[in-house]
Amino acid sequence: MSTPPAVKAVNLTKTFPGVVALNNIDFDVMYGEVHAVVGQNGAGKSTLVKVLNGIHPPDRGEIYVDGRQVRIRSPADAKRHGITLVHQEIMVYPNLTVAENIFVSRMSRGRTPGFVVSRRELDDYASKYLKMVGLDVDPSTKLRDLGVGEQQLVQIARALAEDAKVICLDEPTSALTPGEVERLFSVIRDLKSRWRAVVYITHYIDEVFRIADRVTVLRDGVKVATKRVSETSASEVVSLMLGRSLSEFYAYKPAAETAGHPLLVVKNLSTQPTRPSEVPLRNISFELMRGEVLGVLGLLGSGKTELAKSLIGMQRVVSGEVWVEGRRVEIRSPLDAARLGIFYLPENRRLEGIVPLMSVKDNILLPSIDLVARFVRKRVLEEAIAGDWVRRLNIKTPSLYTKVSNLSGGNQQKVVIAKALARRSRILIFDEPTMGIDIGAKVEIRRIIARLSEEGHSIILATSDVDEALTLSDKILVLYKGEVKGYLRRGEVSRDKVVKLMSGYGG
């Protein structure tokens, strides 16, 4: 009881335009402890560690390190107080070597190793920390040549090299294989024994019970509870997280009544990656009927995005056939796909789906503009079309002329759906349609998908959410590392079996 927490935050509040990301949060973590933070997307977990690490300065609230109040306004401040963040997407330099990544922040401060860097000295020094995290790689390898799991361990090695006392891990396992997860957990246990404080953010409940000592549940920016892991259960944590029962959380689609010939047939499709992050597809075959939902289920790296993109000409197809309405087709670009009525709704909306600074109306009309107007635009007609979709999909926007960047994630997703429908697409390919949006919008998007299929649209639903696939699909294609592990009708298989197939077991 005598030692104060490594870090303690009191009444932390952080708002972004239109959202209270953190609302009066109290949080602390002790030395030698793993404190898990769980919550749905948008609950505020990432914002919490970003505030602790000075990436987002808080609007209100105090932060104490070792019982003394500190000001953390930048990542450099956080580092000075021994707090560091391990994050998959930011903070690494893929074009630098492993050793350089470990020492980059110290170099910039002009401390050891000094301003002039001897490569050999650097590598020797780096190996010491690599050993601590059990990573056996050459320190002079470029970081981008390592796997995601290994990159993460390099970041932990960097935290140790910086002598960090508090290490925050943000969704560290989301891209890892089961073997890599085990390795990460043993490193975390080792960090505990080295008396480091670990903040562990995840949305996988089972991980909480395997690695954490305490768990804090956030929902919509508010702290719901902090519990000792030994004194709670998985089902309690889940219901705290969701704030309602699972059945309310998913939309259930009745089975499609299908007859006649399939709308889309894919035979033995294989692809070759054009970027190192992509997975090659091998011999994928399936059929899609009118009004049917095909769930394409797989984890990150399973090839589900690659499959979706291969159907709009954005992957290099090396063999296989695609048939639409009984005719063999060659799809070389999204334009070819659009002409066949195929439209892809990307996983990464901001990057591939919307033009953020353009209005809701212009975004909705972008794919179909040449069908609506020849050259001179037709304002009245455009407003009628866009207004119609805004109403039918219940897009919450102040006006048709609001910039899409000002809408919430769920409403942005609906704008993307409106784009596809305004283009009169028959086959909609959804890629993780509910990722990164709040719970209410998730349910709404799932209901829209169910409704579209009932109205006769054919849908390919690429997702990593087992329950989303099970509740919405007529058929499920399970992918693992670019290969089909199962092609099942709904009801043919148990949830457990599907989860096993996704992880590469069985099949």
Binding site: E352, M358, D362, R377
Partner: protein
């Protein structure tokens, strides 16, 4: 009274929300300041000179702004205008083609350079900065090669552009018309929507099933034609085809776009803004000449004003590159 007050403040807010409001305010302030500083500034004679001086730069700025709105950049305006003007001059004065035909040939040359730029960026996937740098250097080289570095004097037949209609030179009416046309194209046509969308998020445009390459090729070609018209204006104004015409003008065109509130990242802005930007740059030169300031100092002043303008544009951003 209260009602009138609110409607006035609503009007002011509406004005400030316009894309062109900041450049317009800057222009008015500079106009007033210049009128106070120099008694010669606000004379009819000087204002007519100002308009003539602004004409070619406005044409360059219009073309450049369309390209910047797509998130690309064009370094070829100055050289394109020189080559197009020269070819037109050769056609009419050396080979004896009718002036109208010669002018069309000149515009064709500009369009061709633009087309090559567009193909280089889309098909050969050369970044626009490099592709247009290459055509800027090559086109200037062609000009010097053909002229041997000397000017073609006594150029006749292009006076129509400097002749006056309703008190203003025809080239002034021409650039006003082209500003309106560019505005219309960007704001009221499907091509304009695609230009803004490409600048805002090209990836999303491609995933939407649109042919972004064709749009880029078309816009580079249109821009090249606009630069060529600037070249014809120079032929008329100087009554000569001078090999160093437009040398460094690409930077003025970019500067005019920045002063006009167009962000170099693309996707936002108005061609009317770049029109005002071009006018501001010309005005600064004009007033400094009237005041008898050392011409080299003009560059320093222009650079300073550009820096200040850029500062107001990037306020609120976390960081820029």
């Amino acid at each position: 009274m209260g009602l009138k007050g609110t409607s006035l403040s609503a009007l002011v807010r509406k004005f400030l929300s316009l894309e062109e409001s900041k450049p317009l305010v800057a222009l008015v302030v500079l106009y007033l300041a210049s009128a106070v500083i120099s008694p010669y500034f606000l004379t009819v004679y000087n204002q007519k000179i100002l308009l003539l001086q602004a004409s070619p730069l406005v044409m360059l700025a219009l073309g450049e702004s369309m390209i910047i709105m797509m998130g690309s950049i064009d370094l070829s305006p100055g050289s394109t205008m020189a080559l197009a003007g020269l070819i037109a001059a050769l056609a009419s004065n050396v080979y004896g083609f009718p002036v109208i035909l010669s002018a069309l040939i000149g515009v064709g040359v500009g369009a061709l350079i633009g087309l090559v730029n567009g193909l280089a960026v889309t098909k050969a996937k050369i970044p626009s900065f490099v592709a247009t740098l290459a055509s800027m250097v090559a086109a200037r080289g062609l000009v010097l090669l053909v002229t041997g570095g000397t000017s073609i004097y006594g150029l006749a037949g292009y006076e129509w552009l400097t002749d006056e209609t309703a008190g203003l030179a025809n080239m002034v009416w021409l650039f006003i018309a082209f500003t309106a046309l560019t505005y219309f194209t960007l704001k009221k046509t499907t091509l304009g929507l695609k230009v803004y969308a490409i600048g805002g998020n090209e990836e999303a445009v491609r995933y939407s099933g649109l042919n972004a390459d064709n749009v880029k090729i078309a816009v580079f070609t249109i821009a090249g034609s606009l630069y060529a018209i600037a070249g014809l204006m120079m032929n008329a104004r100087l009554q000569a085809a001078y090999p160093w015409t437009g040398y460094g003008s690409e930077l003025d065109a970019i500067a005019a776009s920045v002063l006009g509130g167009i962000q170099l990242t693309g996707g936002v802005g108005s061609p009317v803004g770049s029109f005002i930007g071009a006018y501001i740059l010309t005005l600064i030169s004009n007033i400094l000449i009237l005041l008898g300031v050392n011409p080299y100092l003009q560059w320093v002043v222009k650079g300073f004003i550009l820096g200040v303008a850029a500062l107001t544009l990037t306020r609120g951003l976390r960081y820029v590159k």
